[in-house]
Each structure stands twice: as structure tokens, then as C-alpha cells.
């Protein structure tokens, strides 16, 4: 039975009680508070983005609420210089790794500027065609290894993505080349409306690692500690020449697939509410902090207020951004515009009466 061969690892349980005491020492108050802070930050961002979409202030948006532990834990394990290949649902991870909030909002507002990461941050634009970023991560990681550096890469992808050829080709490539990459799967159990039981006959995603002879690890994706320590370990193995790892973080999205989706069409929303009530990844850390006597109400309030301020600032910045300049359609296709583009640009600017 694959579920037995790939048991779900968990460091703290739903009640915030330690399940793997050997981690006790590494679970410092400082680390836990950082997790909490980042999770609050990205959830605040996520909720704001949904409301901006409803008001028509940004376009279609893909929320990640419920998946904060997986994204924060994995992204915090990365080191400066590592590469991140997120999907459209992983901007939480991207923000934790240092992406700018206003740029992420710009992306969702239909602007290419939103794909430019802050200086020194190797964050790829969100992968839109499913699974296509997986081979990129393998290649970027392989390049680091060839160069003799100890930097690594992480590729994010969903359960549905494992059905695409690019997933298998990317993982196989990395396995053969011993590329230092972590394939971080968030199994939120749905690909839009398609439940995992219709997506694959496999009982787990972690078991897919067997075919490529790489470590496959299944974790409780709502436990930020496990997400962090397992990613850290996989990255360490990668940096030391041990090749790639496949991590399956079992989780759940509370919201819709995107703001244009209606989950009531395909899933039991009562179950959804129950899951949120019973196993919210943020509440779980909060419980752990409380159990450890580390939770302080006024500190938590400050964290929440700071997150709101930061997000509000980002919204202002996004909205103050200059209007889309049509020249940008033409100027970035090639290093040097070909004659076709130069001609089309001139004709268009003549028509709209603009300065080239």
C-alpha cells in the first residue's frame, strides 16, 4: 500500500501539539514567530487581492488561502541565490522569498512589470501553462551544479500538474543529471473541479518519485514546521550533490480555484467549512505558540496590523503605477527589434499620435 510506504509526516498536529519530539530543540520561538508573521502577511495579501478583484481593481486572481503553511515553510527554507519557479498560486511563496507585493499585484492587473523580481532575487514569472516550469527548475538547478555553486532551485506545482508530460520529463532530467532541485508539490486535492481520484490512480504523489529513483516525501502540508524542515533537508541534500527530491505537501484550498470559479459546482462546501474550522494552518501555529506559552495577544495584533499596513501600501503603489505604455508591446520582443516590429510600432504610434 503506497499510503503506508509514504506516510504523511507531521511535526505538530492539528492541536498544535508536538508529534515528532526529536524536532523540539530546533523549533525555536523565533522561528515559529517568523512563520506566523509570514503566514499572516500572505493571508492578508490574499484576502485583499480577492476584494480588489471584486471591485474591478485587478483582474482574475488565484487565491491560496489554506496553503500558507506549505508556501511559507518551503520558501523560508531557501537561501539567498536559490531559484524559485512558482505557479499562479504560489505568489505567497514568492512574497516570502522576497518578491515585492506591489509587483505581484501588478501581475494580476495585467502588467508584465509584475514579472520582474526585485534585484538579486531569482524568482521566475508564475507558470501559467501547467507543469511547464518544472523542466525550467531542473535546468536552472543543473546550471548551478555545472558552475560548481551550492545554490539550488525549487519548483512549485499542483496535483493536477503531475499528469502533464513536462512533470515527468523535468523530474527525470533532474534525476539523471543529479540537478539540485526540490520538486515541491502542493496537493490541494483538486485541479479546478477534478478531484485527485479522477486525476490519477496513484494513491499518493510522493510515490511518483520511485519511478525516477529519487527520494519521495509526503508531508502534512498544513504543518509549517514540516514544510520547512523537510524542504531544508531536501535542499541540503541537493546542495551536497544528492540530486532532486519530490515533496508532496497534502493540503487544501479554502477558496475558489480563481475568482472566476464557483467551487460549489463541484465540491462539498460544508466539508470545506469543516476543514477550515478544524485545520487552518495559521490557527495550528497559533495553537502551538499558545501551548508553548509563547503567544502574546498584543504581539499578534501588531503582526496583523503591520500586515494590513504593508498590503495597503502595496495597493497604493500598484495603483499609482504609470499607465501601460504601448511601446512596451514592441520593445521587448527581441534585443534588437526586427523590421516588422519597428514598422508596426511606427504605424501604431502615428495612428494614436504618440511619441515613439
Amino acid at each position: 500500500m503506497m499510503e503506508n510506504q509514504f506516510p504523511i509526516r507531521q511535526i505538530i498536529d492539528v492541536n498544535g501539539k508536538i508529534a515528532l519530539p526529536e524536532y523540539k530543540e530546533k523549533m525555536t520561538a523565533e522561528l515559529a514567530k517568523k512563520f506566523y508573521k509570514q503566514m499572516i502577511r500572505i493571508r492578508t495579501f490574499d484576502r485583499k487581492a480577492i476584494s480588489l478583484q471584486r471591485q474591478g481593481r485587478i483582474g482574475t486572481y488565484a487565491p491560496f488561502e489554506g496553503q500558507e503553511a506549505a508556501q511559507v515553510g518551503s520558501a523560508m527554507a531557501l537561501a539567498e541565490g536559490d531559484w524559485m519557479f512558482p505557479t499562479y498560486r504560489d505568489h505567497g511563496a514568492a512574497i516570502v522569498f522576497g518578491h515585492s507585493l506591489s509587483k505581484v499585484l501588478l501581475f494580476w492587473n495585467g502588467r508584465n512589470e509584475g514579472c520582474i523580481p526585485p534585484k538579486g532575487k531569482n524568482i521566475f514569472p508564475p507558470g501559467i501553462p501547467i507543469a511547464t516550469q518544472i523542466p525550467h527548475a531542473a535546468g536552472a538547478a543543473y546550471a548551478e551544479r555545472k558552475r560548481g555553486s551550492t545554490s539550488a532551485a525549487i519548483a512549485y506545482f499542483g496535483d493536477g500538474a503531475t499528469s502533464e508530460g513536462d512533470f515527468h520529463e523535468g523530474v527525470n532530467f533532474a534525476s539523471v543529471m543529479r540537478a539540485p532541485v526540490v520538486f515541491f508539490n502542493q496537493n490541494n486535492q483538486f485541479a479546478i473541479s477534478v478531484p485527485i481520484s479522477k486525476q490519477m490512480n496513484s494513491k499518493t504523489i510522493a510515490q511518483k518519485a520511485l519511478a525516477y529513483d529519487i527520494p519521495g516525501i509526503r508531508i502534512d502540508g498544513n504543518d509549517v514546521f514540516t514544510a520547512y524542515f523537510e524542504t531544508l533537508q531536501a535542499l541540503e541534500r541537493a546542495r551536497n550533490g544528492g540530486g532532486p527530491t519530490l515533496i508532496e505537501a497534502v493540503t487544501w484550498r479554502y477558496g475558489a480555484h480563481t475568482t472566476s470559479d464557483d467551487p460549489a459546482k463541484y465540491r462539498d462546501q460544508v466539508e470545506n467549512v469543516k476543514r477550515r474550522e478544524e485545520d487552518d494552518p495559521i490557527i495550528r501555529v497559533e495553537r502551538w505558540l499558545k501551548n508553548e506559552g509563547l503567544y502574546d495577544e498584543s504581539w499578534a495584533t501588531t503582526v496583523k496590523e503591520e500586515a494590513i499596513t504593508e498590503v495597503e501600501e502595496a495597493v497604493k503603489e500598484m495603483e499609482a503605477f504609470p499607465k501601460a505604455d504601448p511601446a512596451d508591446i514592441f520593445d521587448h520582443v527581441f534585443a534588437e527589434p526586427t523590421w516588422q516590429i519597428a514598422k508596426q510600432k511606427k504605424e501604431y504610434f502615428d495612428l494614436i499620435g504618440g511619441e515613439i
Binding site: G160, I192, Q199, Q344
Partner: protein, 331 residues
């Protein structure tokens, strides 16, 4: 006395659902495959309630793998089924490109007609709905370029249903492009039951003697708006809605451009390698001596379809079309 055909008033996407429903009813071999088409009824609701009506055996939610289910569709088509495959957005067809161009389109030729692929691939296409990147591609020309597959694209509910049924009945693979932008923008009277709109035949949306405007799909309303605007200035346009992008109705084009001698072709796809060039070749081949002005093309630019913040600049507008009309008139 004629028996009255019942009609319904439907949007373009509802007309597609109605066409699928009609054919699921009519032919047992018809089977629907695609992502989210079952329980969810498709992300645009094109297959709404069809799984409830025909069951999970005939309206199938596939795994997320375009190469997989298009390839499997070919296997089913050679083995007695009539698969209708939904690609969620045309921009996500590329993993299946190999299956389409090296297999679906060639199997008849490779086996001298022994194996054939009577399969339909439906795909919403085009920009203008503020969709995220890659959701807005209009890459019909990479399919019309490949021999062995037909490509069609309706611009209204009536044609959508009739053309879809014709595509399903066609003995060869057909790519059926659906203008996302028009899915719900117009309603039209659509007859109940089965009827077809012939593949390979264009339609005139407006008659006129001064300029021929050629377009299809989501560009038709833009072209009509431009045509109405110049009419006030005394310029009478003839608007041809191509409907079939391969094989193009060359006779209607020739007949019209021989009358007008002036042509503007409009498409939202890139200019280079775009279908406008094939239309130009048809005019050259059939009607060279009738031309009073060089053909104008109003197209998307030779740049990837930009993010939606820029799409109003990228897409052909009535303004750009009017400008081209004036240019061919003044020449």
C-alpha cells in the same frame, strides 16, 4: 405547408452546448473529453449539465494532460468513436500540438485512407476579456498551415451550432475555434435539433461595392462597427465572415474583391505568417487585375499577445480598421 422549426434564443456558448447535446443524442459514438467538462460543465459552461444527461461514460473529465487526451482521442477515433475534445484555452493546446500535427492530421495520408480521425477539437481563443496571459492566443495559422486538419470559427450563435455539427459529421479532424469574447455578448435565434452550416463556405454580413472587409470570429463586431462608421461618409463596405479558415472560401473572396477592387483583411493574430497572407495570395491568384489598391492588413502585432493591461493597444479596433479602409479608398 411547412412544419415550423422550433427556435430558441441562445448565446454563442449556449448554442455550442445545444449542438453538443444534439449530437450526443443523435449518435452513440459521440463522446466528450476534456478538463473540467463534466461535473463543472466546463470553465465557460459549454458542457453545462451534459454529464448529468449523458453520464460519466460519455462526458469525461480527463486528467490534466493535453497530449494524453488528444492522443487518446485519436486512438478512440480510429476505433469507432467520435471524440469531441475541449481544450480549456487555445493557449494550452501546445502540449497536444505534436499529436495534432504529426498524427491526427496525417493518419489518413500515411495509411492511404485506411485509418481516419473523425475528431473535433474545440478551443476558446482570443484576447479582449482581461484574461491572464497565455489565455488570449489566436494561433489559428499554425494549424491552417498544417495539411490534414480543417479549421473553423463562428461569430454568432446560429453558425456556432451549425458549424459544430458539420465539424462533428466531417470525416476528418476539425479544429473548432470559439471566440471567447463573443460567448455571451450576443443572443440569436437558433433552431432546435440538427442542422449544419457548410464547412468551406463564407457568409456576407453586409453588402457593399466600395471595399471588401474580410474577418472572422471575434473580429466581426469590430469590422461591422468600422463598416457602419464609414457608411456615414458614403463608403459602402462588403463584410465577409470567413467561418472556415481552412479550406478558405476562395470563390466568395474572388467574387467580392473583383467587384470592389479594394480589400482590408482583419485578424487579431500576428501579421507574420498570419492567415491574412493566405487571403492576399488568393486575391493575387484570382483577382490581380481587378485591384485598385494594395490590400491592407489590420492585425495583432508581431509580438506575443501582451498581458491584458496592454491588450487594448494590441487588438485591432474599429479605429484602426477605419484608418485602413480610408487608406485603400484614397490610394
Amino acid at each position: 405547408m411547412q412544419t415550423a422549426v422550433k427556435v430558441k434564443t441562445l448565446t454563442l456558448v449556449q448554442a455550442i452546448t445545444d449542438g453538443l447535446d444534439t449530437m450526443l443524442q443523435e449518435k452513440e459514438e459521440v463522446i466528450l473529453l476534456g478538463e473540467d467538462i463534466g461535473k463543472n460543465g466546463g470553465v465557460f459552461r459549454a458542457t453545462d449539465k451534459l454529464q448529468d444527461k449523458y453520464g460519466e461514460d460519455r462526458v469525461i473529465d480527463t486528467p490534466l494532460s493535453e497530449a494524453g487526451f488528444v492522443g487518446a482521442g485519436i486512438g478512440m477515433a480510429v476505433n469507432g468513436f467520435l471524440p469531441i475534445i475541449e481544450i480549456q484555452f487555445l493557449g494550452f493546446i501546445y502540449p497536444a500540438y505534436e499529436q495534432i500535427v504529426t498524427h491526427a492530421s496525417r493518419l489518413r495520408m500515411r495509411t492511404m485512407g485506411h485509418f481516419t480521425v473523425p475528431m473535433v477539437i474545440r478551443a476558446p481563443y482570443g484576447a479582449g476579456v482581461r484574461a491572464p496571459e497565455i489565455h488570449c492566443d489566436s494561433t489559428e495559422a499554425i494549424f491552417t498551415h498544417m495539411p490534414g486538419i480543417k479549421v473553423v470559427c463562428p461569430s454568432n450563435p446560429y453558425d456556432a451550432k451549425g458549424l459544430l455539427i458539420a465539424a462533428i459529421e466531417d470525416p476528418d479532424p476539425v479544429l473548432f475555434l470559439e471566440p471567447m469574447r463573443l460567448y455571451r455578448s450576443v443572443r440569436d435565434e437558433v433552431p432546435d435539433g440538427k442542422y449544419t452550416v457548410e464547412i468551406g463556405k463564407a457568409k456576407k454580413r453586409m453588402e457593399g461595392e466600395h471595399v471588401t472587409l474580410i474577418a472572422w470570429g471575434a473580429m466581426i463586431p469590430e469590422v461591422m462597427e468600422a463598416a457602419k462608421a464609414v457608411k456615414e461618409k458614403g463608403i459602402n463596405c462588403e463584410v465577409i465572415d470567413l467561418l472556415t479558415l481552412f479550406p478558405i472560401d476562395k470563390d466568395m473572396i474572388a467574387e467580392s474583391v473583383q467587384k470592389t477592387g479594394r480589400t482590408v483583411v482583419v485578424h487579431e493574430a500576428h501579421a507574420t505568417g498570419g492567415l491574412g497572407n493566405d487571403i492576399l495570395a488568393i486575391i493575387n491568384d484570382t483577382s490581380f487585375l481587378y485591384q485598385k489598391a494594395p490590400v491592407e492588413r489590420v492585425t495583432g502585432f508581431d509580438a506575443p499577445v501582451p498581458y491584458f493591461g496592454f491588450e487594448d493597444h494590441y487588438l485591432p479596433t474599429p479605429e484602426r480598421i477605419k484608418h485602413a479602409i480610408e487608406k485603400v479608398i484614397k490610394f
